[in-house]
């Protein structure tokens, strides 16, 4: 019983309950900015505190290895916390303007964070499942948070239906694995040769299908575009970066820790699905007029890149995935911070709404450009370094064709990212003159946007620091 191992989770839970109680105690008329600041300050202190948990010795576990606080999970938890801080900061005004239940918004954001943290540390299927459900149920609610927009409610219902179906599929897989091996614990399952029977193999396939649903990997991606478009913009940002990173974190642990002996089977499935994601995601993104929808397809492609790293099942691959998840987070924060301001000021997120942003607010346009260029993987942004790591790992492992597909597709992706940039920077016609009027946005958005852009460029120019951290994190994982 080591409470040190679950200290981050305890802190997040307490913070969540405090925000809920604060919302109940505050008078109805006061706005909920105080709760937002409380959330940010609490999360920053948890982040700083968690820095001290990196270790070189063996990892702390809670209850006989059901929950493991290794550097790998710690890295991902910090990623989620960071993403959450950024989202709360840039959504301050958005929440005030569009959301009816502002206090609960932060409570549910924190519960989603708690679910992600539990997932990152889960070392058995029950903990994994409860964490995953906490995260997804929080997201069902968050997606439908805009009471003034029917699209939001529709997106929530779609997400709920598809998500429940995928949960059922995954549960079925877990039950088959339990039937075959008699255990839920990764450390025990991994030694059990019954996995090679039909039940074990079917279980692994169903569990993978469930994860592909959650990661919106092609061919399980049907829900993603509508949900991303309908959800409130800050929630879309979280869906794209944190929820996906959490899914990947636990997916990697399941595959590498619970099912390593089936590696020869699942590696090929992963490689095929990642190729499908990269090809399909990038091609479907080209046609999109709405930037949120475009980013949904692009996130499918990005998940594909990260799965390339997973398919090369060694420590360079894990390191590359962690590196890429981090830089994708920064790029997403930048892009969605700008999008939420644009949605507030201009009422939408299509290319037309972004027209003339370079004159209305050069800073926002620049941050958007840097973020999109990083997603496309153009030097000197972080995306370039991340793709180099991933494709090198894949080539070293022998997946040359996969690296080739990824390379060609990221070349193609530059086109649709630059379409957005063109909309922002092209000359305005006479009728569009009022698009040049300056856009108002608060200091918090400026802060997040600049931080995200600086991080994207900084990691791109000097990737060694982040590489070292991911090294440390992945080494304790593959021990």
């Amino acid at each position: 019983m080591d409470f040190w191992a679950i200290s981050i989770e305890i802190a997040v839970t307490v913070l969540m309950l405090v925000t809920l109680i604060a919302d109940l105690l505050l008078p109805k008329e006061t706005d909920r900015r105080a709760i937002a600041f409380l959330t940010v300050i609490g999360l920053i202190s948890v982040f700083v505190f968690s820095l001290g948990q990196y270790h070189l010795s063996s990892s702390a576990t809670f209850f006989m290895g059901l929950f493991i606080a290794d550097n790998y999970s710690l890295f991902f938890k910090q990623l989620f916390i960071l993403g959450m801080i950024f989202v709360v900061l840039f959504s301050l005004d958005y929440a005030q303007k569009f959301l009816r239940y502002r206090g609960e918004f932060y409570t549910i954001l924190l519960s989603a964070l708690l679910g992600m943290c539990v997932m990152a540390s889960a070392n058995d299927f029950i903990t994994l499942f409860v964490g995953l459900e906490l995260m997804t149920i929080s997201f069902y609610i968050l997606v439908g948070f805009r009471m003034d927009k029917t699209a939001s409610g529709e997106a929530a219902v779609k997400y709920l239906l598809v998500g429940s179906a995928s949960t059922a599929v995954m549960l079925y897989g877990i039950s088959l694995i339990y039937g075959a091996t008699g255990s839920f614990e990764f450390m025990i399952i991994c030694r059990n040769l019954h996995l090679f029977y039909a039940a074990g193999l079917a279980g692994v396939v169903l569990i993978m299908a469930g994860f592909f649903f959650k990661l919106s990997a092609i061919p399980f991606h049907m829900w993603a575009p509508d949900v991303y478009q309908g959800a409130p913009t800050p929630v879309t940002a979280l869906l794209a970066m944190s929820s996906k990173a959490a899914g990947l974190a636990v997916f990697m642990r399941v595959l590498y820790v619970a099912f390593p002996i089936l590696g020869t089977y699942w590696m090929h499935i992963l490689a095929a699905v990642s190729a499908l994601c990269m090809i399909g995601g990038n091609i479907l993104a080209i046609k999109q007029k709405d930037v949120k929808r475009m980013l949904a397809y692009s996130s499918i492609a990005q998940a594909g890149y990260m799965m390339v790293g997973m398919a090369s099942a060694d420590y360079a691959g894990i390191k590359a995935v962690m590196f890429y998840a981090t830089l994708y987070l920064f790029a997403n924060v930048g892009a969605f911070a700008v999008l939420s301001v644009v949605e507030e000021e201009r009422g939408g997120t299509t290319h037309a709404h972004l027209t003339g942003l370079s004159e209305a607010s050069p800073m926002l346009a620049a941050v958007m450009t840097i973020s999109l260029v990083s997603m496309a993987g153009v030097p000197p942004t972080a995306g370039f370094a991340g793709k180099i790591y991933i494709f090198t790992a894949a080539v070293d492992y022998g997946y040359i064709w996969l690296a080739f597909v990824g390379f060609v597709m990221s070349m193609m992706s530059i086109y649709y990212y630059l379409l957005v940039v063109r909309a922002m920077y092209r000359d305005l016609t006479e009728q569009e003159a009022d698009y040049a009027a300056p856009v108002k946005y608060p200091f918090a958005v400026r802060l997040t946007a600049i931080l995200a852009a600086v991080a994207t460029l900084g990691v791109g120019v000097y990737p060694d620091l982040l590489a070292k951290v991911t090294n440390l994190a992945s080494q304790t994982f593959m021990r």
Binding site: L114, I141, A180
Partner: protein
């Protein structure tokens, strides 16, 4: 009269000899299983195919209860009771309440059915899946419980409160969030 009694005697003797030849309790067990499994499937089809959504809800409740009977038939008492209490009771009520929240004059065509091709496609896909899963079930040796479960509640308590504390407490948060979310979405829908 005596002849008739002789017939009955003969029939009873035949039944007893059958009972000796076969393992009757396990036969009855199999019969009960197939009865409730069949009923559960039938009602599940009803949920999909009935045109009136209230009838679908009723059919769903029947499915829940059949599943509870399946649990009881394999001596999983606690699971059976929970299934009846939570699904047969509370969830069924919630579903009916949710239906009554919708605005509709006539429930006759409230659960519209898709065209023939969708039905055929769904039937083919789910049939293939069923076949695959049946093959899996037949081909693999499952680990069965070392002894009959009996009264499962104390064992569950031991597991829940020692081995699986963390998922247990996270489940409390999950319930809390689900309740908050449902309340605010329902109230939000009403107010707007």
């Amino acid at each position: 009269m005596n002849e008739a009694l002789g017939y009955v005697h003969g029939l009873v003797g035949w039944a007893f000899s059958l009972a000796e030849a076969y393992d009757v309790p396990s036969l009855i067990g199999a019969g009960v299983f197939f009865l409730f499994a069949g009923l559960a499937l039938l009602f599940a089809c009803g949920v999909v195919f009935l045109r009136n959504v209230v009838h679908s809800a009723l059919s769903l409740t029947a499915t829940f209860i059949c599943v509870a009977c399946l649990y009881l038939s394999i001596d999983a008492d606690f699971m059976g009771a929970v299934q009846i209490l939570v699904y047969g009771g509370a969830v069924a009520v919630l579903i009916v309440m949710a239906i009554m929240l919708t605005r509709r004059d006539d429930m006759a065509h409230s659960n519209p059915s898709r065209g023939l091709w969708q039905h055929a496609g769904a039937a083919v896909v789910s049939g293939l899946f069923l076949l695959g899963m049946a093959a899996v079930a037949v081909l693999s040796p499952f680990q069965s419980a070392p002894q009959p479960l009996g009264d499962a509640a104390p064992g569950l308590a031991d597991l829940m409160l020692s081995h699986y504390v963390l998922p247990f407490e996270v489940a409390a948060v999950l319930l809390l969030i689900a309740m908050i979310g449902a309340i605010l979405l329902a109230k939000g829908a009403e107010e707007s």
